[in-house]
């Protein structure tokens, strides 16, 4: 097992290297540069421009800048934002919990609804429940979520006034961030109603973000269940006279969960991509919005290190999925 993990990690090294190259190279290929953008309509004199670029080190050859960046990374320094002048890592750490909270709640919704719906649809294959839920899943899978978010805002915040429009918690509540997760912090603060307020702010964005993963999980669960239910051992168990609920609950479900868990793990990339849109629509202070803003401001250090951090997280999650898969299914290890 250890050998398996090591070999997986070894594989990652060139990938991580590639990611730094891509993250560093891409942002520099972007037309326009941060100095010009900061000067705006007023313009900046050629002398002043040269002065600032020199100060930022952007006058050096590109490969030197890259080596310097790698060197920085090796020392755990992700650089400072050009716009706020603050360390990229510090900004990431203040914003990341918001994205994680949103993502976790979304995946929780998707799993808690998606798995039972998928199982039920498989058991009652061909029933009206199966047909309606699978049609619903396909609609969800086809949903342009940026539009979906707008519709939900119009309906629930605009017309009905049930949910707050944006933000993470009502401004009435004010407490220091301990974990960065508003749901936990609001509980820790002990203030009346703070938790409910945080929860109500989280509902719409997490529903929007959960839409596609929910659809994928429901569909995947259903087909995994169907496949397992057709396998010999399930048929045997049934033939032995075990009760249908026991067959499904113990045998089929457990085996069907392997691909489902993989699917859930693979939704992380989908969630991060979805977070970009969801955070934009709901003004959610997370890393998706941060990346978009930084790209448009040409904030080189933020974009290159932000991309690196995000890709790193995706990779780690994928690795964990691989490992769990390897644990559950030993055959894979030896391939």
């Amino acid at each position: 097992m250890l050998k398996f993990i090591l070999s997986k990690l070894l594989y990652l090294i060139p990938t991580v290297f590639g990611i730094t190259l891509v993250a560093f190279g891409f942002i520099r290929l972007l037309p326009g540069d941060p100095v010009l953008l900061m000067a705006g309509e007023r313009g900046v004199s050629p002398e002043r421009y040269a002065e600032i670029t020199a100060q930022l080190g952007y006058d050096k050859p590109i490969w030197q800048q890259y080596l310097q960046y790698l060197n920085q990374l090796a020392h755990g320094d992700l650089g400072n934002s050009l716009v706020t002048k603050k360390p990229v890592l510090a900004e990431f750490l203040t914003l990341f919990p918001a994205t994680v909270e949103l993502g976790l709640v979304a995946i929780l919704i998707a799993t808690l609804i998606g798995v039972p719906v998928g199982v039920l649809a498989a058991i009652k294959r061909g029933s009206w429940f199966d047909q309606i839920s699978m049609t619903g899943a396909l609609v969800g899978f086809s949903m342009p979520i940026f539009w979906w978010g707008l519709l939900l805002i119009i309906l629930f915040s605009g017309i009905l006034g049930w949910t707050p429009v944006s933000g993470r918690i009502s401004l009435m509540y004010f407490f220091p961030p301990v974990t960065g997760f508003m749901l936990i912090d609001s509980l820790l603060s002990g203030q009346d109603g703070a938790f409910m307020s945080a929860l109500s702010h989280l509902i719409l964005p997490s529903i929007v973000l959960a839409t596609i993963p929910l659809a994928v999980i429901a569909r995947q669960t259903r087909s995994a269940m169907l496949e397992v239910m057709g396998e010999d051992y399930v048929r045997t168990a049934r033939a032995k006279g075990l009760s249908p609920s026991r067959v499904i609950g113990v045998h089929a479900l457990r085996n069907a969960m392997i691909p489902v868990i993989t699917t859930i793990g693979l939704q992380v990339g989908v969630l991060l991509a979805g977070a970009i849109l969801t955070e934009t629509i709901f003004s959610w202070p997370g890393i998706g919005k941060w990346m978009i803003d930084s790209i448009s401001r040409r904030d080189y250090p933020v974009v290159q290190s932000g991309l690196l951090l995000i890709a790193g997280i995706v990779m780690i999650v994928n690795l964990l999925v691989d490992l769990t898969y390897g644990l559950i299914n030993p055959r894979i290890r030896h391939k």
Partner: protein
């Protein structure tokens, strides 16, 4: 399904396969509906100039933000109302079908061709070629697709063509991986060895012998990518990085309409609905295709 031992001609086999395919496909009601909607969509796109009541970019300055015809203040000339500069919504939506189909086709074509070639090379040659290629693919896949597409579009410059290229680049590893896996599986099979012994060149082996046998998963992936491409290009348009105004691309229309969200629901609702319906139709079709092409799933 074809366990007959009688020698039959190639054409007959093909005919039989098509027949089988259509049999399974038509079993799936959703797939047939999806196909019908899709055909309708294609027809709409092709005959847009004939169907559309107005020029999609014609601005009627006396008819800004006219609501749909059934609502108070609506006009018969503008069935689904007009947008902020007085362009007919219905006509823009009709012409928008052209963009979406075009985007889907181009993205899938680029991603498919690129991915297949890369995957074939990696799978066929193996060794360090394979390692390098697959590591590069890993790098691409490590980034959330929309984020990577956004950065790529920012580099190439916002616009429809560049958005399509960016999305295709982001999708292409999926095709490469599929092809590679299939090639690895097929490479050791007898018919390949036989062809090799018979003196077939590498190119011939790759394209004529192996590729046709990996087609099914690729077709399924292609339909999936088609619908994702329509969604992602709309998302890019929504973020201002896709097709540029005044193009009547649906995502771009949504982005332009966002400021009217409270005042004119129709400019926000219809483009989104158009996206949803076409993506849904393609996905329905994709499900049918998968069921018909993938014998393992056919049982279920």
């Amino acid at each position: 399904m074809t366990d007959t031992t009688v020698k039959i001609s190639d054409a007959a086999i093909r005919r039989q396969m098509l027949k089988d395919f259509w049999f399974y496909f038509s079993q799936n009601r959703g797939a047939v509906i999806g196909l019908a909607v899709f055909v309708l969509l294609v027809l709409t796109a092709i005959f847009a100039p004939l169907i559309a009541p107005h020029d999609p970019n014609q601005q009627y300055r006396d008819a800004l933000l006219v609501p749909p015809v059934w609502q108070e203040g609506g006009r018969a000339g503008f069935l689904l109302g007009t947008d902020a500069v007085g362009r007919d919504m219905l006509s823009r939506l009709i012409y928008g079908a052209q963009y979406s189909l075009f985007i889907g086709i181009v993205v899938v074509a680029i991603a498919l061709i690129g991915g297949v070639i890369i995957g074939l090379v990696a799978g066929f040659y193996g060794g360090w070629v394979d390692s390098v290629i697959m590591r590069v693919m890993d790098v691409v896949l490590a980034f959330p697709s929309l984020l990577l597409a956004l950065v790529l579009v920012a580099i190439l410059g916002p616009g429809l063509t560049n958005a399509m290229i960016a999305i295709a680049i982001v999708y292409q590893p999926h095709f490469a991986r599929l092809t590679r896996a299939a090639v690895m599986g097929e490479k050791a099979r007898e018919y390949v060895t036989a062809a090799r012994v018979a003196g077939a060149s590498n190119l011939r082996l790759m394209f004529k012998t192996i590729l046709p046998n990996c087609l099914a998963p690729l077709i399924v992936q292609a339909t999936l990518s088609f619908s994702s491409a329509v969604l992602d290009s709309a998302a890019l348009g929504f973020l201002g990085m896709g097709a540029q105004p005044p193009a009547s691309e649906w995502g771009t229309m949504l982005a332009e309409a966002r400021e009217f969200i409270l005042r004119a629901w129709w400019v926000v609702t219809f483009p989104g609905l158009a996206i949803l319906i076409s993506v849904l139709a393609i996905n329905l079709m994709g499900d049918g295709l998968r069921d018909a092409l993938d014998p393992k799933l056919k049982r279920s």
